[in-house]
């Protein structure tokens, strides 16, 4: 048994969030194949533990930014499953009224300030929101999720410099799944560990295994406490695995069966033993029911009136 400070409520919450993400995304994969969910779909199956452990510790007034693989982060931050599913199905009742879709989810009410489809494009936005928090003197923090592919982008290097320079309350959470789109990290960079990339900037950083949920939880807790106290940026690198393709429909010619087997054994839900079996089965069952209710909600919702597209180009 892992020794961990997770209390029973927290443990159940974490498992509930992981199941909600897992079953939501499995359902989305089915709906994508039958063309009921639209657009490019990037799933995080196998990596749910990071979203759950990080977002469980955040408040609604803390901001989260995410990338193109965003469903899990949105769910963990509190986005309602029904409106999330409706968004992926292009419905009027979607979080963004069908104008955003899978890669551009926003749920401002819960502090999910946005996903983006441009790799690394979310990093500067997170700094800006952290700057606003800093200038207000609040104890809020901003978290930005990104993959190892973003680390080679110019925005990453500019952003870690500026975050360190301005001591912004931002926590960079890198989900390092070893692949940037179709190619391995080794083909993108000579630096294996993302936490090493930020070393010269002088802020605290740690690499943990992403499917070890208590480890992610504890590492993030310490960073969050310090970020809230105005002690600057932090970087948490979570080593994880993408059990599905880069996107649904990816030919996946780069797959290594041995790695598949190894990571299947390290599944974050399977290895999470903090909830007893009976309670865990109930959590899984309830999550499944919520997903089906979300699908029904979305199907019953109309498509948006086309007029909304011209009305929302500019704010008034």
């Amino acid at each position: 048994m892992p020794t961990s400070a997770l209390d029973a409520d927290t443990a159940r919450d974490l498992l509930r969030t992981m199941w909600r993400i897992r079953l939501f995304e499995e359902r989305v994969a089915q709906l994508k194949r039958s063309l009921q969910v639209h657009g490019l779909i990037h799933l995080s199956i196998g990596g749910e533990g990071v979203a759950a452990a990080v977002c469980r510790q955040l408040r609604d007034d803390d901001a989260v930014y995410s990338g193109h693989r965003a469903h899990g982060h949105a769910i963990a931050k509190g986005a309602p499953l029904d409106r999330l599913m409706a968004e992926l199905m292009g419905r009027e009742s979607g979080l963004c009224h069908g104008l955003g879709g899978s890669m551009h989810l926003v749920d401002a009410e819960h502090g999910f300030m946005g996903a983006t489809g441009v790799v690394g494009g979310n990093l500067p936005l997170a700094l800006g929101t952290a700057l606003a928090q800093h200038l207000r003197g609040a104890d809020q923090a901003t978290v930005v999720f990104f993959g190892d592919g973003a680390v080679q982008a110019g925005h990453f290097n500019e952003s870690i410099n500026l975050a360190a320079l301005w001591k912004l309350p931002v926590i960079f959470v890198c989900e390092n799944n070893g692949f940037a789109e179709f190619t391995s990290r080794a083909e993108h960079s000579t630096v294996e560990r993302v936490s090493d990339v930020v070393a010269p900037y002088g802020f605290d950083r740690e690499t943990v295994e992403g499917s070890d949920v208590p480890a992610v939880y504890e590492a993030f807790a310490s960073f969050l406490e310090h970020a809230r106290a105005g002690k600057g940026p932090y970087l948490l690198e979570c080593l994880t695995f993408r059990r599905r393709g880069h996107y649904e429909g990816d030919p996946e010619k780069y797959r290594d069966p041995e790695a598949e087997r190894e990571w299947a054994a390290r599944d974050p839900i399977a290895r999470f033993t903090h909830v007893d079996d009976e309670a865990a089965r109930q959590i899984e069952r309830e999550a499944g029911e919520q997903i089906e209710a979300a699908v029904r909600f979305a199907r019953e919702s109309p498509f948006p009136d086309p007029e909304i597209a011209t009305r929302l180009v500019y704010a008034t």
């Binding site: 963004c96 104008l99 300030m113 500067p124 936005l125 800006g128 500019e158 500026l162 500019y314 704010a315």
Partner: protein, 348 residues
């Protein structure tokens, strides 16, 4: 009225906005030092370096910081020192700022102002002299403002800071240091309202000019009146997006002819959009094809005689107006396209 310059009007307007609203912050390269043209002079002394923030030379991320801050409730004004460097910030401006309100279904808004300056004339060469505003008008979600005088700069900047959308505020460095008068206190000028500078009786042509070319348009109109006895209306749209098409179309319906003039390269320039929109709105009234004045299809050269020849001005506008005015008076004699700056085709 107070005597001032364009850059002083910018600096004093920023100071007033910061005094009135603590959400307004200014950031950019060297802004706390006043910047190379002194457009932010004095701000750091009055408001401190938390609200007037020097940034590293990281245009992309700095633009994105501005967006994230705006989404979180601030009213940031970011300076991109030369519009040539906006290329480095276009991902954030185009993919994030312009689309956040739309993609979020109206949940987010991005009340930011991106100030920058362009234009040739200072022998700065091809990477510090461009006029790239047309790119920005092609992206739904951005507003694009181009003031031509100090009073409009003050009034439009006030409106831009109050606007809930991302506004790109494009200045021209050649306008910065002329002595001008402005109302005191300055009045906010609504974004989307053209200014008519000259509206004489019985005008036979409309000159629509942007930014630095507005003064040249007035000069060309004066020469048409004195040398040719022809009156011209002169209109400055002031904002490209949204565009006050009504003001332009009404004028062209009166006059029957139009010249559109800007400093940017003619090909693909905003003049093409102006000409297309005007002809669609006033086709039955047109006596001649709308003439375009802009820069030739080359990068901006450094050598003084070459740069002087490159820059469109009053003479180009005058000659374009003459072509429009004389249209149909002669047998179909093809005129020399190359005589008008910028009328050479791309690659031709």
């Amino acid at each position: 009225m107070t005597e001032t310059t364009f850059v002083e009007a910018i600096a004093s307007t920023l100071a007033r906005a910061m005094r009135e609203d603590e959400r307004v912050i200014v950031l950019g390269e060297d802004v706390a030092e006043g910047g190379p043209y002194l457009a932010t002079a004095g701000l750091a002394d009055e408001f401190g370096r938390e609200r007037v923030r020097n940034t590293p030379i990281s245009e992309g991320t700095v633009c994105g910081v501005t967006i994230g801050a705006a989404q979180a409730g601030l009213r940031p004004v970011v300076e991109i020192m030369f519009i040539d460097f906006i290329t480095l910030a276009l991902d954030q401006l185009v993919n994030q700022a312009a689309k956040a309100h739309f993609m979020s279904g109206g949940q987010l808004s991005v009340p930011l102002v991106l100030r920058t300056q362009g234009g040739a004339g200072q022998r700065n060469g091809a990477q510090h002299s461009q006029s790239l505003e047309a790119w920005l008008t092609h992206v739904p979600g951005l507003k694009v403002v181009m003031p031509s005088c100090a009073a409009d700069a003050a009034g439009l900047l006030t409106a831009a800071i109050a606007d809930p959308n991302p506004v790109v505020f494009v200045e021209n460095k050649s306008l910065y240091f002329r002595r001008e008068t402005v109302p005191d206190p300055p009045e906010a000028i609504p974004i989307g309202k053209a200014r008519t500078l000259r509206a004489p009786e019985r005008a036979r042509i409309t000159i629509v000019a942007l930014s630095r070319l507005v003064g040249d348009a007035v000069e060309a109109a004066d020469r048409l009146a004195s040398d040719d006895g022809v009156e011209a209306e002169v209109i400055d749209p002031r904002t490209l997006v949204p565009l006050d098409l009504d003001a332009l179309a009404q004028s062209v319906r009166r006059t029957g002819r139009a010249v559109v003039a800007h400093e940017a390269v003619t090909a693909g320039g905003f003049g093409a959009e102006l000409a297309a929109q005007i002809q669609a709105a006033a086709f039955d009234y047109l006596e001649a094809p709308i003439q375009r004045v802009g820069a030739p299809y080359t990068p901006v050269p450094v050598s003084p005689p070459l740069e002087d020849a490159y820059r469109p001005g009053a003479d180009h506008i005058y000659r374009a107006a003459k072509i429009a005015l004389e249209w149909g008076e002669y047998d179909a004699e093809p005129w020399d396209h190359g005589a008008i700056a910028g009328n050479s085709a791309p690659g031709g």
